[in-house]
């Protein structure tokens, strides 16, 4: 019994994912369970997944980033404007987009570290500022007429695999290496677990916290570029509400809201859960309004689960203290 429990606990996220796939598969076998639709789910999840990995870095070190959706929007329109109005080449435009995202992350991190404000409030302010900037960059209008080759990274394939999926997998591998194999990754966990203890152990906590926001910004920039290519136009609202999906995916995937905990593997499962849900609900023809309600409920449920797990863990202390 205990074994079963620990098994379920360990693979909880995976179990949910499989249950969801079976559920939608039973409800709409003809459209949901096709190979092409499965690829669509993974391709759609890639953009959100890349941004979620960035968020994971921030959250593992004890922070949170609500501005990532706006960063996606800003970088998306910025790159679009550079490609069309300024006629830049692909590489410099992309590099500029990535640098822009990283810069935003650096500034966000610096503000949070220097002033000691709550990351949730600080990044909420930035979310609004950046949304405004996204509108300003493109004058409020979507930027279209992208050069053909700019669609490659969003719509192209290498063999049978969509390029966004390949980018996502590369990001996953690098992120897993950094978090699990390098001392920097370990330091991120230590900071999120107990910042003062980490500082007294000789870790430059401020520098590394800023670094997590920079990583988050960089990956949001990357997500913005792929988003631009996928929808073939620079939309100032491209990343709207994306932070909510990412946050939900991360929390479902076991990333702790209080820092110090979070694994890439389960977070990716979380991303796929959101992807399957979004896709499944669309196939089921559930209206957008209901979808919003359901998404909100799922987010609330994930957060509650996180809280309840902490309470149970707290209850264990009773035993330990006995």
């Amino acid at each position: 019994m205990d074994k079963l429990k620990s098994f379920i606990k360990q693979y909880f996220v995976l179990v949910i994912l499989i249950v969801l796939i079976i559920l939608f598969g039973c409800l709409r076998p003809e459209s949901f369970l096709t190979m092409s639709n499965m690829f669509t789910v993974i391709r759609q999840s890639s953009i959100m997944g890349i941004a979620t990995i960035g968020l994971l870095f921030v959250m593992v070190a004890g922070g949170i980033d609500l501005s990532l959706g706006s960063v996606i929007s800003v970088e998306s329109v910025l790159v679009a404007v550079l490609l069309t109005k300024f006629g830049w080449g692909l590489l410099p435009a992309y590099l500029c987009g990535l640098a822009g995202g990283t810069l935003v992350g650096l500034v966000t991190g610096a503000i949070i570290v220097k002033t000691g404000i709550f990351p949730m409030i600080g990044t909420l302010a930035l979310q609004i500022i950046l949304q405004g900037i996204a509108y300003l960059v493109c004058g409020g209008m979507p930027v279209s007429n992208l050069p053909l080759n700019a669609k490659m990274i969003g719509q192209g394939y290498i063999g049978p695999i969509p390029i966004p999926v390949i980018v996502f997998i590369i990001v996953i591998i690098i992120a897993a290496l950094v978090l699990n194999r390098t001392y920097i990754g370990r330091h991120f966990y230590a900071i999120g677990s107990n910042e003062e203890a980490a500082r007294l152990s000789g870790i430059n906590t401020n520098k590394l916290k800023v670094a997590t926001y920079a990583i988050g910004g960089f990956l949001s920039g990357l997500a913005g570029i792929i988003m631009l290519a996928r929808i073939s136009s620079g939309q100032p609202t491209a990343g709207k509400n994306m932070e909510m999906d990412c946050l939900t995916a991360a929390v479902i995937g076991g990333v702790s809201l209080t820092g110090g905990e979070g694994k890439i593997s389960t977070a990716v499962c979380g991303v796929l859960i959101i992807g399957v849900l979004t896709n499944g609900m669309t196939i089921m023809n559930i209206s957008e309004y209901y979808q919003l309600v359901i998404r909100g409920c799922i987010f609330l449920g994930a957060v509650c689960l996180d809280g309840i797990q902490k309470q149970i863990a707290g209850g264990k202390k009773v035993k330990k203290a006995a």
Binding site: R181, Y183, R186, N194, A197, L200, N204, K317, A322
Partner: protein
């Protein structure tokens, strides 16, 4: 004498553990009943049963002649049971008086009668013989004063049975005296007290009866007169142990650390030095600036002026990271919040300061890491099934060993130990003392901060007594006397 509380045949099981095994226990009206036992003996579970924080699987709790089956923390508070835990239950942003009366109605109106509140607070604080300003916020108080506020809070609720869990752990000797007076005062007023402590002296000074617990069972309950320290320790650990300190044969080498005119927000210019193989004790009352000077040395807080020399060379230290590079390590008094990472494994904790050195091109060399952790786990005899065990699951003594281990792993030459044995049981204390002794044999310089007079006298080769942010006296081992230290510490000059 009439019993206020009777616990009969109580059993509490947790998965894989029997925390209380058919335990019976009684407390008489107006008695101080000491509860002793090593960590994990079942004291905390017993307390939680009494306060209703947990419900036992079997057995009865009888309080004032009435049997309670469904006791909960709110009910237990209403019937006059209060507990003061090692972790305080105070709102740091609120003032002393607001905390004391938190959850208690002062008057009938829904508004707070501040005048009445202040009056009552003053009265209670006066009983406690303390001069805290009732309008100070809790977060601005030292640990010792926070505890006084906790006691005041219990008093404000007309407590009949007060449970104190290691109340003197954060206090200095001076404050302990105040606490003792208070406990006797409460006893006179008919309040029963369950007093949990690891310190034998206190128990024999305060308690009427003593109950010894071990491995979830009550071993015995005895009158104080019918036992002695050695017997009690024997009962607790189930084996003979002497509460003596390892003999010191210091071989002093060259001066390793020199602190010159170091000065910060709570310290006046402070100068002292420590030699190889030497243990320098920093004695003093809480708030004397001992922890603060340690934090200045390692760069955890900003210094105003002064210099630190290591091995004769002046070093610049702006952050703990710099201190570590110069071989200075600080083991914090606040183990749970600053010393170790509870949610992380032993392995992660021990290698945290040296992880960068254990890495090649930022990638951690796991083989080297495991080797290093195993080495220090064995050297310090950290009891654990695996180095991947979470530190939060270890006993206090083993947690402390982990906190020390990480600095040994980083090959620190100068170790500042701040209250190294706080809240850990007798057996583990002995091990820590022996460990400290071994370390000095290997040439480390150690600064030991302790509020336990006996401990600091037993361990130090030389003692510096601090008061009000500066060093007021220096004593060699032959000159150690409780009297002299107290005189310095309370700044009495004759």
């Amino acid at each position: 004498m009439e019993n206020i509380l009777e616990i009969k045949d109580v059993t509490k099981r947790y998965p894989g553990v029997v925390a209380l095994n058919h335990v019976s226990f009684e407390v008489a009206k107006g008695e101080v009943h000491a509860l002793v036992g090593e960590n994990g003996a079942g004291k905390s579970t017993m307390i939680k049963t009494i306060t209703g924080a947990i419900t036992p699987d079997e057995g009865k709790v009888i309080y004032e002649g009435k049997e309670y089956t469904e006791l909960n923390p709110i009910l237990s508070s209403q019937i006059g049971i209060e507990a003061i835990y090692q972790e305080f239950n105070l709102a740091p942003e609120l003032t002393v008086q607001e905390n004391i009366y938190m959850g208690t109605k002062v008057n009938q109106s829904i508004f707070i009668d501040r005048k009445e509140l202040a009056e009552r607070t003053k009265k209670i604080l006066k009983e406690l013989n303390t001069n805290i300003d009732p309008n100070v916020r809790i977060k601005d108080l030292t640990v010792a004063y926070m505890q006084l506020v906790e006691i005041a809070k219990a008093l404000a609720k007309n407590v009949k049975l007060l449970i104190m869990d290691e109340p003197t752990a954060p206090l200095t000797d001076n404050e302990v005296e105040i606490l003792f007076k208070l406990v006797r005062n409460l006893k006179k007023r008919g309040v029963s007290i369950i007093y949990i402590s690891h310190r034998m002296d206190e128990i024999f000074e305060l308690a009427d009866r003593i109950t010894v617990m071990r491995d979830g069972e009550v071993i015995k309950t005895v009158n104080k007169e019918d036992t002695n320290k050695n017997q009690l320790i024997y009962d607790m650990v189930g084996r003979k142990l002497t509460e003596t300190y390892p003999e010191r044969h210091p071989k002093l080498g060259k001066t390793l650390l020199e602190v010159k005119n170091l000065c910060g927000s709570s310290n006046e210019e402070t100068t002292f030095s420590v030699r190889e193989g030497e243990i320098v004790g920093l004695a003093g009352l809480v708030g004397a600036g001992r922890t603060e000077i340690a934090r200045l040395i390692i760069g955890a807080d900003k210094k105003y002026s002064g210099t630190v020399c290591v091995d004769g060379k002046e070093v610049t230290i702006h952050s703990p990271k710099d201190a570590i590079q110069h071989g200075i390590a600080y083991v914090s008094e606040d183990r749970k919040n600053q010393g170790v990472l509870l949610k992380m494994s032993i392995r992660w904790n021990i290698t945290l300061p040296i992880l960068r050195e254990l890495s090649k091109m930022t990638f951690i060399n796991f083989k080297e890491e495991n080797k290093c952790v195993d080495k220090y786990k064995d050297a310090l005899r950290i009891k654990t099934p695996s180095i991947n065990q979470l530190v939060g699951n270890l006993s206090g003594g083993n947690q402390q060993k982990v906190a020390v281990a990480k600095w040994l792993a980083s090959e620190s030459k100068i170790l500042i130990l701040d209250e190294p044995t706080r809240g850990i049981d007798v057996g583990a204390k002995q091990e820590i003392y022996e460990l400290i002794n071994r370390l000095t044999d290997e040439g480390l310089a150690i600064i030991m901060i302790s509020s336990e007079m006996e401990e600091i006298m037993g361990m130090s080769d030389r003692m510096l007594v601090m008061a009000e942010g500066r060093i007021v006296g220096e004593l060699d081992r032959e000159e150690f006397s409780q009297n002299q230290i107290m005189k310095y510490a309370s700044n009495i000059t004759d």
